[in-house]
Symmetry: C2
Subunit: 635 residues, 2 copies
């Protein structure tokens, strides 16, 4: 099969209402709001070096706020998100703010290229002494992604030049050569950023550096983190600010290629797996691809929330053991779902298999999107699947990683819709997009029109400049139990292979394809290994997972609603809610608290016939606080 490559988001115009609304909110509100919050938090001030007053060794800034070692990454990620936004709509105010930050980065960069505001201010002599905990290479990765994005959008090279100098220093510092440190970052990120730089520049050295980091990660005898710990002890350095003793936390307990179980911090894992998939493609590395596939299966068979959330535990912000998917205490960090999308997209381009796009879609519409409020300036870091009413979106966070992860995702979401090969076009997601790409030597105007995810009624028009033969691959989502397809009104009888139907023909101007994906409301059950969800059912329609929220269901805690197994689910278009959505309603049984005037009794609580209304999960907690459940008890 031909190799497919994603069509970049700058080449895909979002026209459908669902993503256009989210994109407009991010452009109009989120980007500038995030800049303001970064400023208020001290993260921008932190970049201004040297400081007028001598810095404290203790990581508490002069203004009393704790300065985090990872703040540079958040600034980098904001510039990445802002640059993606600028691709849609240039904005002098935002660009001026980015330029001001680049001024600071320029001043903060040391003569040899080193750039890290935390170490340069506080412990310049201790750089690279604690790769496990202190995020220097992670920061470099996010700053590099930001620099690439800003260059691609504006053509301005200044920050990219800064980062290339820093990367050159990193390449000189780390490696297997004489005098080099055989280190690698405790928080993966630089690896996938280096692959991006390779894609931009074509310089293989960047790919090689990424490969080095991946190959070293988890190498034993000696373990680099033991080596650097010994060195810190020797030098009396006590800078283990974010220590987390277990190398499993960093996926560094054994070489990556040997790993078969997903462990540790969820975002670290996903960023690393994304880089591994990148390198499997670029290096044609079958062993790395096989490792990715094994790890993928482990996540998918035992560790993913139905929302595409990852990492049940707040303790390690990550994974625990098979089937441990508690609902109310789910961590399911927004970043982890965003990073899962990154990994899934890369897996999809290793093998054009709809199972990857299915997960990408689930995480996108549910576990990632839930991280951003409707108003574009409130967030969830953790995305639980149940709330007693105490959960509340926050305005900002001392570790604001999730905020820019969701804004950069939305600002670049068009990049997940299409891929092209020399002789083919693949459409992965639906929702109203247009693009113009060269396929099989001809420029083809592509337009997909739909009201997805609310409807599965999809119209696609292909307008090649001249009649051209190529494959059109359309994803039939895993959630679709049936579909119908026609080309120019003529039904096409075909079955999907690996989640895609392929129509090969000579396409001509005005060709139109109708794909109908019936979208009934479905019940979803969890594997009985997930003991928290036994006797419970989740509701899904199309790619959207639903929840019960107190705002739509009178009578207090939604945990008191039960859905009879045989109750009919109805999809209801609600123009009055959130600019128009589809809710699900069903007859239900409501447990009555009123007459139960003791804490315990031998008579069961009374139930009465009732109904329930379910809301797409990504929209929860936008109407004040209240109880919420995804997994509804079945009666």
């Amino acid at each position: 099969m031909s190799q497919y490559h994603p069509v970049r988001f700058v080449d895909v115009r979002l026209e459908g209402s669902f993503w256009k609304e989210r994109l407009d909110t991010v452009l109009a509100t989120t980007i500038l709001s995030q800049h303001r919050r970064l400023d208020e938090s001290g993260a921008l001030e932190q970049l201004k070096l040297p400081k007028p007053v001598p810095p404290l060794r203790h990581p508490r800034g002069a203004n009393g706020v704790t300065v985090h070692v990872f703040w540079d990454s958040d600034v980098g990620k904001w510039i990445e998100a802002a640059s993606y936004a600028l691709s849609h709509r240039r904005d002098a105010v935002i660009e001026a703010r980015i330029e001001a930050i680049i001024d600071d980065f320029e001043r903060a960069q040391e003569p040899d290229g080193y750039l890290n505001s935390f170490y340069t201010e506080r412990e310049p002599e201790n750089r690279w002494t604690n790769l496990r905990d202190n995020h220097e290479l992670y920061n470099a990765g996010h700053m590099l992604e930001g620099a690439i994005a800003y260059y691609e959008t504006t053509g301005r090279r200044r920050w990219l030049d800064i980062m290339e100098r820093f990367i050159a220093l990193i390449a000189k510092t780390f490696g297997t050569g004489p005098g080099q440190k055989r280190g690698y970052c405790g928080h993966p990120e630089i690896e996938l950023a280096l692959v991006k730089l390779y894609h931009l520049t074509g310089e293989r050295k960047h790919l090689e550096l990424a490969s080095y980091f991946v190959d070293e990660h988890g190498r034993q005898d000696p373990h680099y983190y033991d080596v650097e710990l010994e060195e810190r002890r020797r030098r009396g350095i006590d800078n283990q600010l974010y220590a987390h003793g277990d190398y499993k936390y960093n996926q560094a307990h054994m070489p990556l290629r040997e790993q078969t179980k997903v462990v540790g911090h969820a975002v670290r894992a996903m960023y690393m797996y994304a880089a591994m998939a990148d390198l499997a493609v670029e290096n044609g590395d079958a062993a790395l691809k096989a490792a990715c596939e094994t790890l993928w299966d482990d996540v998918m068979i035992t560790k993913m929330y139905v929302t595409g959330g990852l990492g049940p535990s707040a303790h390690n912000e990550g994974f625990t053991y098979d089937y441990d998917l508690p609902n109310q205490t789910a961590y399911a960090e927004t970043c982890a779902s965003v990073a899962l999308i990154l990994w899934a997209q890369r897996m999809l381009h290793l093998d054009l298999d709809g199972k990857y796009a299915d997960v990408l879609e689930t995480a996108l519409y549910n576990g990632a999107l839930s991280g951003l409020s409707r108003d574009g300036e409130h967030y969830f870091y953790a995305n639980p699947l149940e709330s007693n009413g105490s959960a509340k979106r926050w305005e900002w966070h001392p570790c604001p990683c999730c905020t820019m992860n969701v804004s950069r995702l939305v600002a670049s979401v068009g990049g997940y819709f299409l891929s092209t090969a020399p002789d083919g076009l693949a459409i992965h997601l639906y929702g109203g997009i247009s693009a113009s790409r060269e396929i099989a030597g001809t420029t083809v105007a592509i337009r997909e029109q739909s009201n997805y995810p609310w409807s599965g009624d999809i119209r696609i028009s292909l307008d090649p400049e001249a009649p051209t033969a190529f494959d059109l691959k359309l994803r039939i989502p895993g959630w679709a139990k049936s579909f119908s397809l026609s080309v120019n009104g003529v039904p096409v009888e075909t079955q999907p292979v690996n989640g895609y139907v392929t129509v090969h023909r000579t396409w001509s101007k005005g060709d139109s394809i109708a794909l109908d994906l019936p979208m009934p409301a479905e019940r979803v059950y969890a594997n009985p290994g997930v003991i928290m969800d036994i006797g419970r059912v989740a509701l899904q329609r199309g790619p959207l997972v639903y929840c019960l929220e107190e705002a739509d269901n009178a009578g207090g805690a939604v945990q008191r609603l039960k859905l009879p197994r045989d109750a009919e689910l109805e999809a209801v278009r609600r123009a009055d809610l959130f600019d128009g959505i589809v809710t699900l309603t069903a007859p239900a049984r409501a447990i009555e608290p009123q007459d139960f005037n003791a804490l315990y009794r031998t008579a069961p609580p009374r139930e009465r016939p009732s109904s329930l209304t379910a809301l797409p999960y990504y929209l929860w907690a936008n109407r004040g606080q209240g109880s919420m459940v995804v997994w509804i008890p079945e009666a």
Copy 2:
């Protein structure tokens, strides 16, 4: 109604198999095992003052273990438990060990009577500077209880004298007089110990000191904890070792008489309420009694686990909000259930109302007893109501408070069975006891024979030395839906008032009473405010709450068993389990994990007819690790 007073445990002989087995285990194993563990932990070494090497300010002993400010209390509580054990069976080895500890206490006591190994070793100049956090008066309370118990058992006064000197210093130090500190302990305990000392000595000054502490607790304007904090700041003392900023944690957010909601650390709350009930009795303090009743209702209506466990949250080891009773993460500290028993017994003697004895019994047979393993030397600190299989009893704990709380409870359990009034005898608990008491001027031999809690078939014989008229009050437990009563074979038709039936007659030698409490297995439902238990049912038979444990139920996680609403529960005598117990069995539905080879799917998991076996909760986790649930999903 006449005032009833409990018959002390030393005057009640345990003859029934249930408590005899537990008592024998504590006598044969637990007491010496706890001494060994205290020794290994460093708590006994800590008492040996002065230390040969200069102490560190940092609370880490020379041997590397952390020295806790509350260790003196644990030693005191061990002596209390050991003394109770000695009341049953004197033991020269144990007595020698106690004497050796008293030697150390004697040497550690400062000339003015102060006794606290932590402060005396480390910060002698800082005594009484942090009453909120650092447990000095709490320690004094437990040491005083230990000294009283040892004196009562052995007649040896040495430690009691030491403690009376210390109490005299405390009385001089704290109070409303000139030059006195208006402080009180952040961890209640000394208050109820002082009432015990008053009971022993008859000296009202001890009652007055207890009343002072209760009256001051939570007084505002100024708040004593603010005053002492200010003073610490002034002196530059940084000894807030166990700080927990919120005064609610200490029940010190407002005066106790004004409190209507149970808040904060559960054990602190229960110890304080027990003392309040004591003082309400001793001082005839109606306002304090009313406060106790209001707080009692708050716990009973919204905050108690069905096992008599208290405090859902590990964070504050205590209470959160109404109906917050999570199962797997339940803290439900053993100490809190023991302390609830202390409170309940005092409430029962304020008003002879069976509702207090019901709770006492529930906590005794379930939430407290579960804290001690069958073998007598493994423990639970937290007593969750569900486990995924990871819970495991521990051999010891850095904070070993629960271990001696459960051993002193078992060693003195006979003290909860009977009360007498000048003209009456009340029997609260059943299970096989005998005693001889003077009632209405005549010595009456009392014997209660039963196989309680396994059977409700109870025979009582009363043998007064001469025919004597008095009330016999028999508790009809709240769990009993019916009962039958006969005296000398003649049925007595009567209804319980406040949980007790009263038989007034002239009793003569050989009179025998038969009380039959039918003991069917019952379903128990939680108030629908407890969202965690919706759709779930607990099983109870007599006073015992049951659980499903993996050891009795094949097929993996017991969370996959559902109990149909109409399934018949059968009580099964099992001679093969734990020396003979009653299990409950029922037809069940088992959810099959085998064919579910995905994480999620739209078809529900298969169920098959099955059965379940439930074990008394107090016995869980005695056969290795495995899943456990109290609240079983109902089908």
